[in-house]
Every structure is written in structure tokens, then in C-alpha cells.
């Protein structure tokens, strides 16, 4: 009996080690865990928030206060606007991107923006242990006056090694988890008819030099597989940030070409790994427009680097 329980305990330890090995080694970043770096690939404000606005949510998952360094990166100019946020233990914090937030007691001031782009937040700590870094999670909801709502979780990267946060963030599978090599989506093929579907894709390179404001340019390859296992491909180039409809990228995303309602899309950056998400837009049988965020499944990892100002 004792040996059995010992065996079970040993097996469990081995399992945990295996699980950790899976997360710590190079590979796709595991998601929905307390993280050290968060990337929100879609922050949009139009018409000062009257047309489209974004609610950004952050949560401290630990019982310690956490200091964050955050950077908005506007999609068109690739400019960075940075700010600091302090979260008390377990504190949730949310703000509308069009309004920002101002809190003198916690020294938190988030500037308002009126643009589209991405947001990156990093745990800023002088403490060395890994668990002091892996503390936050976040999500965002983009909503418009037309009723569209896109809710998604930020992409999280875990700190893997002890050490202080510096302004060079190596997403290399050693210090922080790597960027995903491939991102897999199930998407609804584009259709002009009734009901219409027209999905969008958001693309942002993982590598970013915000210190020298050098935008990253990369070619992005798309592999599309339909329900009959037939493969089609397409490609595009992105500098800094892009938001396009699938139809703008290629006809292979249309139902007429694909031949099936859904497709399996694999996205891969060539010069730099990319982060991406889809916005599903479709019509219900009653002809009402519906919208939803479509987050990818990830496979494999590639190294990238974020250089902060």
C-alpha cells in the first residue's frame, strides 16, 4: 500500500516535472496562466470613443503589489506611448482606451488614445525570483456604436528564469517564453451572399524595437486547408501592424474558392514571428450581424526580442 502511494507520488512529481518541462522549454507560449508580459493585439478608438472604443482589463493574480510598464503602439505611425501602472494585491483594473485612467494614490496614469494599435504590458520588478514576474493577466473588449463586440484575452508570455526586468525582453524560451511559430485558426470562409460573412485578421510582428523606433517588416505566409483536406496558400507583408479583411489578402479565403464553410488557417511570419487574431463577422439566419474575437491555437516557438525605450 505504502509503495503504491509512493509510486503514485513519484509518478505525480514526474508528471509535474513533465508539465513544467513542457512549459519551460522552447515552444509555443502556454496561455491563460499568470504571465510576465502581455500583448493586446487589438486596441481601437474611433471618433473619440463615440464610434468604437476599447475597454482594457488587467488583473493582478498574486497577493503582492505589481508594477507594470505599458506601451501603446499605434498601428499607422508605429509610435510608442508608454506609461506605468501599479496594481495592488489581486487588484482588477479597467479603463476605456478613449479616456485613460488617473489615480494619484497608486501613481497610475494611463493616457487616452484615439488610434488603433496594440498594447504591451510588462511586469517591472527589481526582484529576482520568477514568481515575482509571472503575476498578471488581461483582456480587452472592443465595442462599437453599431453593436459589434470583440472580446479577447491578451497573449501572455511567462518569465522562465530568475532575474530582473530589463529594457530588452528576450522572448527566447530561456528568459521568457518564445513567440508562437505557427498560429492555427478555424475561420468562417468569406461570403458575400446571404448570410454574409467577412472576417478580419490582425497581425503584429513579435519583434519590436521601441527604443530606436525601427518598425519590423515581415512577410507572412498563410496556409489554408478546407474540409476536404485540400491546401491553398497566400502571403502578405506587414510593417509594424496590420488589420485587413481576409478577402483583401486573398481570394483563397472565400467560400467560392475554398468550397467549404470553414477553413483551417495556419499563419506564420517569415522574418519575424507574428501575433495574430481574427475577428469573425457573420450574419445569423435572420440577417443580423454578429461579431466575435477568434483567438488562435499555437504550435512551436521562435525567438524574438522586444526593445523598450
Amino acid at each position: 500500500m505504502l509503495s503504491l502511494s509512493l509510486w503514485r507520488a513519484g509518478a505525480r512529481v514526474a508528471g509535474v516535472v513533465l508539465a513544467l518541462a513542457g512549459t519551460a522549454a522552447a515552444g509555443a507560449p502556454p496561455q491563460r496562466l499568470p504571465s510576465a508580459v502581455l500583448v493586446y493585439p487589438l486596441i481601437t478608438v474611433e471618433g473619440g470613443g463615440g464610434t468604437v472604443d476599447t475597454r482594457v482589463e488587467l488583473v493582478n493574480l498574486t497577493s503582492r503589489p505589481v508594477d507594470l510598464k505599458c506601451v501603446y503602439i499605434t498601428g499607422v505611425s508605429c509610435r510608442a506611448i508608454d506609461f506605468s501602472v501599479r496594481l495592488t494585491p489581486n487588484q482588477p483594473l479597467s479603463w476605456l482606451a478613449s479616456r485613460g485612467v488617473f489615480n494619484t494614490s497608486s501613481f497610475t496614469a494611463v493616457p487616452p488614445i484615439n488610434a488603433s494599435g496594440e498594447l504591451k504590458c510588462l511586469v517591472e520588478t527589481d526582484e529576482v525570483p520568477v514568481d515575482r514576474h509571472n503575476a498578471i493577466q488581461g483582456r480587452a473588449t472592443v465595442f462599437g456604436a453599431d453593436g459589434q463586440t470583440i472580446g479577447y484575452s491578451a497573449v501572455g508570455f511567462l518569465r522562465l528564469a530568475d532575474g530582473m526586468m530589463e529594457n530588452v525582453i528576450p522572448l527566447d524560451g530561456v528568459t521568457y517564453s518564445q513567440c508562437p511559430d505557427e498560429q492555427h485558426f478555424v475561420f468562417l470562409s468569406s461570403e458575400l451572399g446571404n448570410p454574409a460573412t467577412e472576417s478580419e485578421i490582425i497581425l503584429a510582428p513579435c519583434t519590436e524595437d521601441l527604443q530606436n523606433l525601427v518598425p519590423t517588416t515581415t512577410t507572412i505566409q498563410f496556409l489554408v486547408i478546407n474540409e476536404f483536406e485540400q491546401q491553398l496558400s497566400a502571403a502578405t507583408t506587414v510593417t509594424c501592424y496590420a488589420r485587413r479583411t481576409l478577402r483583401q489578402i486573398s481570394q483563397v479565403f472565400t467560400r467560392a474558392t475554398l468550397g467549404s464553410e470553414t477553413g483551417h488557417l495556419i499563419v506564420r511570419g517569415v522574418q519575424s514571428p507574428v501575433l495574430s487574431m481574427l475577428v469573425d463577422r457573420f450574419e445569423t439566419p435572420a440577417g443580423v450581424r454578429a461579431t466575435a474575437g477568434n483567438e488562435p491555437a499555437m504550435r512551436g516557438g521562435r525567438s524574438a526580442e522586444i526593445l523598450l525605450p
Binding site: A21, A24, R32, P92, A290, A297
Partner: protein, 426 residues
């Protein structure tokens, strides 16, 4: 023991021996060396002191060393690569880790674990109780730190759970699955209806990299791949496991899925990714899914949600929860109490709880602690924990936007800690 310590010990012994030999000293003016040597010999014998490798203190060291490396092991690969050689010398702790080869040998036993499924085959399935034995574990729901590792999400998985499927006159669900590998996979899936906890099972085959989607109220049928999905009516959950034909992990970890639940009339849409569990150790598929952190990833111990608080007269969000453990073989529904800790932006903590059987959809209006008037802030941090079974869940956020427009979106949880549970398929 270090050399210096050994020398100090020896000097101490000689001093003691001299003390013991004092009577002889009193008798004669010179040293009685015979008495000194006898006393020294006695001391050596009784203390088993050896000038060579000291064995006695090693056991405590041994027991302790494996405990430390456990944490260190995870960090080890990075530090090994990143730390320059000097750090290595300092990390002399690593040497004991190596010496403690017994730990490694224990790991070898893990290989023998491959025998585990075989043991399973002999054991009649109902024996493995699906309902966790952690009945009292959750009494103090949030005081203890969460143990174990939560399941990493958005990776190719072996078992996926869709906690919210609706098919009714007003609502519809599109279920999407994709094979993330270049090999054909077979899936065993079950809908579990919330109203009576009754299951409906089916098999689906996905060819290499194939995406597949269907509407819950229509189902799907493909005679070429022997796939047939029955139509589903009502509210429930869907669980799909990869019934791998090969024991290797790559044959199991192949699947991902998502669902779009929408109102036919208003277009309100809840799109979410299925919760995925990876297979961690190679072996055959038996229909018993041990979410124990060894065979498959554990269930999350706690679900963390960042939610919008409910405004008076405003739209009402919902919290959907399903238990991780499920015995579909004996149709024994899992029941558990769900404890909620609710923290506002001022770090003030509130709590609430409810009872869950099979599937529960709780409107935020049921909890006064989730209203803006009680919490005093726009957003809240909700931590949900099942007492006798870990949970999987989802929040449906509803709020008013520009011009009072109603907005609906899925709010998927962040996961903390891990707890064991078992899902048994018939």
C-alpha cells in the same frame, strides 16, 4: 563534512581524551599515553568517526536535496544556458542533485509507468471513482495556496471541453474543431445536457489538418469519414477526447476547438475557445481520462475572471460553470459547491457561493456582491473554486456601450493551480 570541520572534530576528540585521561595525570607528572589512547579509541568507537568519507550525515542531506531540486529542476534548463560558468561553481547544489541519482532512478520507474494502462485494463472501469476525494479540501476555499499546475491553453490538446453549448428556438451554436497534425485522428465526443445530465455520444474522424464545423441543432454527417454528429437541443456542454491509435504523445495532442453561441434574432454572440488538456505521458486511449497532472494535465484549481460589475437596471452578465469530474459510464452526476471570492479595485474582498450539478448558469443579478453599488468599482476580480470538484467555466459579459447599445462577449478565465479529477467515458 569539510576537511576543516573534520580536523576541528579530531582536535576536539583529543581534548576530550586528555580530559578523560586526567586522573592518570594527577597520579604522575608525565602524560599517561596509554590512558589517552584508550579514551581516544573509545570515543572514536562510540562516535564511529572515520577519517574517510562521512556517511552518517549524508541521509538528511539526501532527503533534503531531492526536495530542493524539484523547484530548481524547472528553472534548471534556463539557468544552465544563461548562467555563465562561475554561477555553476556556486550552484554546487547541483552536484548533490546529480549525486542524488536515486531521484533519477525514480524517474525511470516512470517509464515502467507505461504499464499503467495495462493495469487499467484489468481494473473494471467503475472502480475508479470519478468524483474527487477532496471533499474537505475546499472548506477553507481560498486560504490555501493552489497546488499543482494548471492546464496550458491554446496548444494542441488531447481532450477539449466546451462548457457552453446552446440550441433553442432563439439561440444557436456553431461548434468548430480542427486537427492540428498531419495525421488522421479519431475523436470520441459527448454532449451532456444540463437539464438532466444525460449524455449523447458520437465519434468524429478528422483527416490531416481538417477543420470541421457544424450547427448544434443540425448536427453533421459524413459517411466518407464515418462521422455522424447528432443534433443537440437545450443547454449543455461538449467534451471531446482524441481516441489515439498510437501510444505516443503526438498522436494524442492534436486537437483544438471553439464555439460561437449566438442569438438568432439579435446577433448577440459569445465566441470562446474550448478548454484544452494535453496528454503528458504516452499510452493508449482507454476512455478513462485521468486529469491528474501525469496522464493528462490537471484541472485548474481556481478560475480568475476580470469582470464588469452590474449596474442597476443594466444588462446582466452570467457565470457558466461545469465540474471537471464526470462519470458518464454510470451516469453519476457530479455535484459541488462553488465558492466565489470577489475583489474590487480597492482590494476589498467579498464572497459568495452556490451549488452546482452538471452545469450551472448563474446570472450576476443573483449576487449582490457583483453589483457596482456594493463593490463601488467598474470592474471586479472574481475567483471561482469548486469545493469537491475543480471547475471549468466561462463568463458571458453583457454591458451597455455607446448610445445604450447592448454588447455581449465571452470572458474566458485565467487559470491557477491544478487539482486531480477523472472523466469516464462509456
Amino acid at each position: 563534512m569539510t576537511r576543516r570541520a573534520r580536523i576541528a572534530g579530531a582536535i576536539g576528540l583529543i581534548a576530550m581524551a586528555l580530559t578523560l585521561a586526567r586522573p592518570s595525570l594527577a597520579q604522575t607528572s608525565g602524560v599517561d599515553w596509554t590512558a589517552v589512547l584508550r579514551a581516544l579509541g573509545g570515543a572514536l568507537d562510540s562516535w564511529r568517526l572515520s577519517p574517510f568519507a562521512v556517511r552518517t550525515p549524508t541521509p538528511p542531506g539526501r532527503t533534503r536535496t531531492p526536495t530542493m531540486p524539484r523547484t530548481a529542476t524547472a528553472t534548471r534548463p534556463p539557468s544552465a544556458t544563461a548562467t555563465p560558468p562561475p554561477t555553476r561553481t556556486e550552484t554546487a547544489t547541483r552536484v548533490p542533485t546529480r549525486t542524488a541519482s536515486p531521484t533519477r532512478t525514480a524517474t525511470l520507474t516512470r517509464t515502467a509507468t507505461a504499464t499503467r494502462p495495462a493495469t487499467r485494463t484489468f481494473t473494471p472501469r467503475p472502480t475508479s471513482t470519478p468524483v474527487p476525494t477532496l471533499a474537505n479540501d475546499g472548506q477553507v476555499a481560498f486560504l490555501s495556496a493552489a497546488q499543482g499546475a494548471p492546464p496550458a491553453q491554446k496548444l494542441a490538446s488531447a481532450f477539449v471541453v466546451f462548457p457552453y453549448i446552446v440550441s433553442s428556438a432563439t439561440q444557436e451554436t456553431r461548434i468548430e474543431l480542427m486537427n492540428m497534425t498531419a495525421s488522421e485522428i479519431e475523436l470520441q465526443c459527448f454532449y451532456v445536457r444540463a437539464s438532466d445530465c444525460i449524455e449523447v455520444g458520437f465519434f468524429v474522424t478528422l483527416t490531416a489538418n481538417q477543420p470541421l464545423s457544424w450547427l448544434a441543432d443540425d448536427g453533421a454527417s459524413n459517411p466518407l469519414t464515418f462521422s455522424a454528429v447528432p443534433p443537440f437541443d437545450g443547454i449543455g456542454e461538449l467534451k471531446c477526447a482524441v481516441a489515439a491509435r498510437r501510444p505516443d504523445l503526438s498522436a494524442h495532442n492534436a486537437l483544438q476547438g471553439r464555439a460561437l453561441v449566438y442569438e438568432r434574432g439579435s446577433g448577440e454572440t459569445v465566441g470562446y475557445t474550448a478548454v484544452g488538456f494535453q496528454r503528458l505521458s504516452p499510452g493508449g486511449y482507454s476512455g478513462v481520462i485521468d486529469l491528474d497532472g501525469f496522464t493528462y494535465e490537471s484541472c485548474p484549481d481556481r478560475l480568475h475572471f476580470a469582470v464588469l460589475t452590474r449596474e442597476t437596471g443594466g444588462p446582466v452578465s452570467e457565470l457558466i460553470t461545469v465540474p471537471c469530474a464526470e462519470d458518464l459510464l454510470t451516469q453519476t452526476p457530479t455535484e459541488t459547491v462553488v465558492q466565489l471570492a470577489i475583489i474590487n479595485e480597492f482590494e476589498q474582498v467579498f464572497s459568495s457561493s452556490y451549488r452546482l450539478k452538471c452545469l450551472s448558469s448563474q446570472a450576476f443579478s443573483r449576487f449582490i456582491t457583483l453589483s457596482k453599488s456594493t463593490l463601488g468599482t467598474d470592474s471586479a476580480h472574481v475567483i471561482a473554486r469548486g469545493v469537491s470538484s475543480p471547475l471549468i467555466g466561462l463568463v458571458i459579459d453583457r454591458f451597455n456601450g455607446q448610445n445604450g447599445t447592448l454588447h455581449t462577449t465571452a470572458n474566458e478565465p485565467f487559470l491557477e493551480g491544478g487539482r486531480d479529477s477523472t472523466v469516464i467515458f462509456p
